[in-house]
Amino acid sequence: MFELIGVPPQALFGQLLLGLINGAFYAVLSLGLALIFGLLNIINFTHGAQYMMGAFAAWLLLNLAGLGYWPALLLAPVIVGLTGVLIERFLLKRLRGLDPLYGLLLTFGLALIVEGAFRQVYGVSGLAYPVPPSLAGGVNLGFMFLPLYRGWVVLASIVACLVTWAVIERTRLGATLRAATENPALVQAFGVNVPRLVTLTYGFGVALAAFAGVLAAPIYSVHPLMGANLIIVVFAVVVIGGMGSILGSVLTGFGLGVVEGLTKVFWPEASNTVIFVIMAIVLLIKPAGLFGRAT
């Protein structure tokens, strides 16, 4: 078997796939964050907890209602998205017009409360969620073995990102959303119910996080703090891509996942910090982010 710069191809492609999977989660999560920040001007620190809630919703649907993976993939985002609607209606709404710092503090506090509550009930050992039978096993691609479920996670994330992007860039609803991001008062004065649009956008961003959580459940164990660790990296991704840029956050998410995976192959010790190093460099050279517009 040939080797690439002293690395067996199995290890290289294995890490590449892992990187793509991490990148898929980064992309879906930072897409939701970018959407929410664009319209609400709120840095949603609850996002990691909402991702965790998605995984838990899938676990609860399975263990309490006997509903398997596929119904959960649809239902969990809806349920968690509805909790997002309530949070926007009753809490975030009151922060409109205030400094984004207030939103950051409120959502950070909410994340602590939610994660603490789940830890209280479910402990910290983590719960197992089975891979759906239809996606068990894998295929040998010749150069590597691809577990089917992992391939599905990458595919589903790409589709979710593409559909979201297409709705925003190519539809009337998306045009209204972009306009409301630019000048909400004027869009409302045209007769658009902007407060409702804001609520639904937050709900959708949260639902995206929960969708990622369901995708993650069979790969990682379902754990109250599963989002707390991830969200820090996701925020670095958002900063690198540029806050509020939809396409930027998606591309940066996948790209950084791959960079992280490759670093694991060539310099394992640096793999946990490489994203933060890139963040520091981007902030020095292009403070608005790779895809961000300087304001």
Partner: protein, 233 residues
């Protein structure tokens, strides 16, 4: 003719600053009325207060018999009032076509897209351009055109001639007369009173957040002198 818009004792604030101090005026159905006044007199604030875009306003704004003071901005628009803001409000992240189609249709009887394109051929030719890539005059046409689509029967135009070349100002004047002939009502904010004199049926002079005088559209030379004093020109 009956009043379509009735403003009574309208007070409004921008944050801590009290801008409108009891505005009173009315606009009759099918007429063109202007609010004339110096910079900072409260004309734009009056427009924004009518549209419900300010955090704090009180008094009474009646539109076709409906009291709007307690309504949200989008509900007011849906009664049939179209707003063309100062600076035009063309969205940079939207194409010309998307800008045109942005405001929802609020009533039957608005112009169709083909009718609008016949009236403003430039907008058809540049439908796929970024909205803010249009010239100032084209942006103003777009800002008015997108309201004509909605079927609104009262149009609020905030300084539509500001910063535009004389030939474009002429076109906008002709457009306003055309809209009046179609039976639309127009409330116009203007600094350029020569322009206002040519298009309007009635002028209200605004000073320090209230209406201090009313002048008929066809001004006598005495009216003109009086307005010049008010406007400081």
């Amino acid at each position: 003719m009956t009043a379509q818009l009735t403003v009574r004792d309208l007070e409004a604030w921008y944050g801590e600053s009290h801008i409108l101090h009891g505005m009173r005026f009315e606009v009759r159905k099918g007429e063109v009325a202007t609010l004339l006044g110096r910079n900072g007199a409260g004309k734009t604030t009056t427009m924004r207060a009518i549209m419900g875009m300010l955090a704090q306003r009180k008094g009474s704004v009646g539109f076709e018999g409906v009291e709007t003071i307690g309504l949200a901005s989008h509900q007011i628009a849906r009664l049939g009032i179209g707003f063309v803001p100062e600076e035009r409000g063309i969205f940079a992240s939207l194409s010309v076509r998307e800008n045109l189609l942005l405001p929802p249709v609020v009533r039957q009887g608005g112009m169709g897209v083909s009718e609008i394109h016949a009236l403003f051929p430039n907008l058809a030719a540049r439908a796929d351009s970024q909205g803010t890539k249009l010239s100032g005059g084209e942006q103003q046409m777009l800002a008015i055109a997108r309201i004509l689509r909605t079927g609104a029967s009262l149009l609020l135009l905030d300084e539509p001639t500001e910063g535009l070349a004389p030939v474009i100002v002429e076109q906008i004047g002709a457009l306003i007369r055309n809209l009046k002939n179609r039976g639309l009502t127009v409330l116009l904010v203007e600094q350029n009173f020569r322009f206002a004199a040519r298009v309007a049926d009635r002028h209200y002079v605004v000073e320090h957040g209230r209406v201090v005088d009313e002048v008929p559209g066809a001004m006598s030379s005495r009216d003109v002198e009086k307005l010049k004093t008010f406007l400081g020109v």
